[in-house]
Amino acid sequence: MPATVALSVTRYRPEQESEPTVQTYEVPFRKDWVVLDALNYVKDRLDGSLSYRWSCRMGVCGSCGMKVNGTPKLTCAAFLSDYLPGPVRVEPLDYFPIVRDLVVDLTDFMQKLAKVKPWIIREDEKPLAEGEYLQTPDQLDAYKQFSMCINCLLCYSACPIYGLEPTFVGPAAIALAQRYNMDSRDQGARERLEILSGKDGIWECTFVGECTKVCPKHVDPAGAIQQYKLSGAVHWVKSLLLPRGGR
């Protein structure tokens, strides 16, 4: 086991440079350290000017997403020992504009998330006197996987379609739409389908599958999108055969 490992980090300081550069730091190697620990070491002891996002350091907040050796990862879940002998290349997530160093702007995703209406939509509100909504374990199972999304955006950074077509709604937003479509309490599937079957919606996806590969919470957005395509196609056929048909 080496005593130190090199961290090659992207720097971008718009006030002093017009393009990103790379700066290398020598950090101590500890068996139990993750890349986030190394970044924190840099910030605390070597270079306080390094900017990056992090919060929970345990894989539930989704703040610390970056590219480690070319692969989108949560830096709090990327063990230094997996990248020996180094250098460990740390870059900001792809396909988002870089604000500074390792910080990218996520506004695009935030707008797209709002667009898919990620909340329970009811046509008829259940009166309070009728009590709570009841859900069986099987009903929960139908959407639970998609509810695990922590909005870390690793999937967007892995999706080449999002890179080539920035207006594409993207994996996480569609998976979250499906989370509500599949929820037995929700009645908004048709509304969301209207939004997502148009341009830049589910039909832009060509099932590359990288989004599912990089997802740290095993949400399987690629699966969500393909299921959505099938249900969208079935809905299309039904609406063709029964123009005034029921729900």
């Binding site: 379609i161 080539l164 148009g198 395509k229 969208g232 299309w236 056929v237």
Partner: protein
């Protein structure tokens, strides 16, 4: 007309399934085993006999038409994304689906207009 993309995706899926399930055996026999003499190829009159059945004609129609639409849909997206030919998107779509339609029409003509 509501967006036709879901329908095109259904054609793509059907064509992909036909190609996946049936093309390997057909291609192996017709393109390799028979010409190379590994297996004895069917005689002309036997094939003619098979073709007489309407089921065979339907089968062949599906075997030709659906995979062409599978190619059209997939290739269109490959050109659009892979080669970033966004400015030609309408032309690409027309060429791809147009070719598939032509192939379908030709198959239909051969299988049903010619006895």
């Amino acid at each position: 007309m509501r967006p036709i993309t879901p329908f095109l995706w259904l054609l793509f899926s059907a064509g992909g399934t036909v190609a996946a399930l049936l093309f390997p055996v057909h291609l192996f026999l017709t393109g390799l085993a028979f010409p190379l003499g590994w297996l004895e190829e069917p005689r002309y009159d036997a094939l003619q006999g098979l073709l007489a059945h309407p089921v065979t004609r339907l089968y062949l129609f599906g075997l030709i038409s659906l995979p062409l639409f599978h190619w059209a849909h997939r290739f269109r997206y490959t050109l659009y994304d892979g080669l970033q030919l966004k400015h030609l998107t309408e032309l690409i779509a027309a060429l791809c689906y147009g070719t598939a339609l032509l192939g379908t029409a030709a198959a239909a003509y051969l299988l049903w207009s010619v006895p």
